[in-house]
Symmetry: C2
């Protein structure tokens, strides 16, 4: 069974190594991890971004599930590319799993992230827009998409020391994916 | 024909009025706009966020298309909820349209948004992750999903004075949607 490995770690300096580690964990659980950087794309080509898009979409269509790294990225929320892919897989009726290495609540991150003040009891951001505040880890659309699959967002109790490289929560998702897709319990 | 109206304007103080204006524009073009806040949800209920998720999903399933407001939101990228919905509709094979009221390129926004320095010629953000830099308005997954539908992201040449309320680019999307879904040219 193939699973698509979505997340902003493709932007790390050691992105390829991260993919290798994720695929290794998948293999341990009898799954084949498909990592965006496995696609051979000429990143200097004029249509490089389109090639990446198409290759990622092909990978998603091949996969039976997605594991999305929804750790907040350049702001209070998850990486947009990852979120898009999560939505796409949900739309395809595929199994959706996600994790975040930051256990905090979305509204608290916005509190810390931008100048925020209460007006009429509402939590608002620095330009006056309401901050979604349901005590969830991130935007409700993502969180409940995961819930609807019976696989709620996985987060650690405390933030790991290496936010972008700790794969404990990731592995917890892979374990559930393996059980759901193969019906067999897996190591660990 | 029904179209789903996705965007972070649901967080504005005048969110309901914005929905009314968007629906009015849709009606002008012979379309019925479905706006998340049209759903009656008890926002004080313990499961309010789940109710909203389910209501939005029902609306998307009813709709033939999505128009996504991808104006950067609390950071360099689009609102995660909107991006998820875009992915979902793409996954469902629905017609996807999007707009942003900020015409700038993603990498430039990251340059302005976080401490960024070049290393080995790469553009990196303040924690050392590579910045996607294809000269696109936002994350390539979203941009090319729109392209794939034959409806590229709409942006103004210059940023409108009211970033969150100017509906010119939105209307351009609605016009294309109307043409694509009904085969008839529409006013304007």
């Amino acid at each position: 069974m193939k699973i698509y490995l979505a997340g902003p770690e493709v932007f790390l300096p050691d992105a390829v190594e991260m993919g290798r580690r994720k695929a290794e964990i998948c293999a341990l659980h009898g799954l084949s991890g498909l990592y965006p950087l496995d696609n051979v794309v000429d990143r200097a080509a004029p249509d490089a971004s389109l090639q990446i898009f198409r290759a990622n979409e092909r990978m998603m269509d091949e996969a039976s599930a997605i594991v999305a790294n929804l750790t907040p990225f350049r702001g209070p929320g998850a990486d947009a590319g990852t979120v898009y892919e999560l939505g796409y897989m949900a739309g395809r009726g595929k199994l959706c799993l996600g994790y975040s290495n930051d256990p905090s609540v979305y509204a608290d991150r916005v509190r810390n992230f931008t100048a925020v003040e209460g007006r009429d009891g509402r939590l608002v951001d620095s330009v006056g827009l309401t901050v979604e505040d349901f005590g969830l880890s991130d935007n409700l659309m993502m969180i409940h998409a995961l819930d609807a699959c019976g696989c709620p967002l996985v987060t650690p109790r405390v933030m790991p020391s290496d936010l972008w490289r700790d794969l404990t929560a990731f592995e917890a998702c892979v374990r559930v994916a393996a059980q759901r897709l193969t019906g067999r319990p897996t190591p660990g």
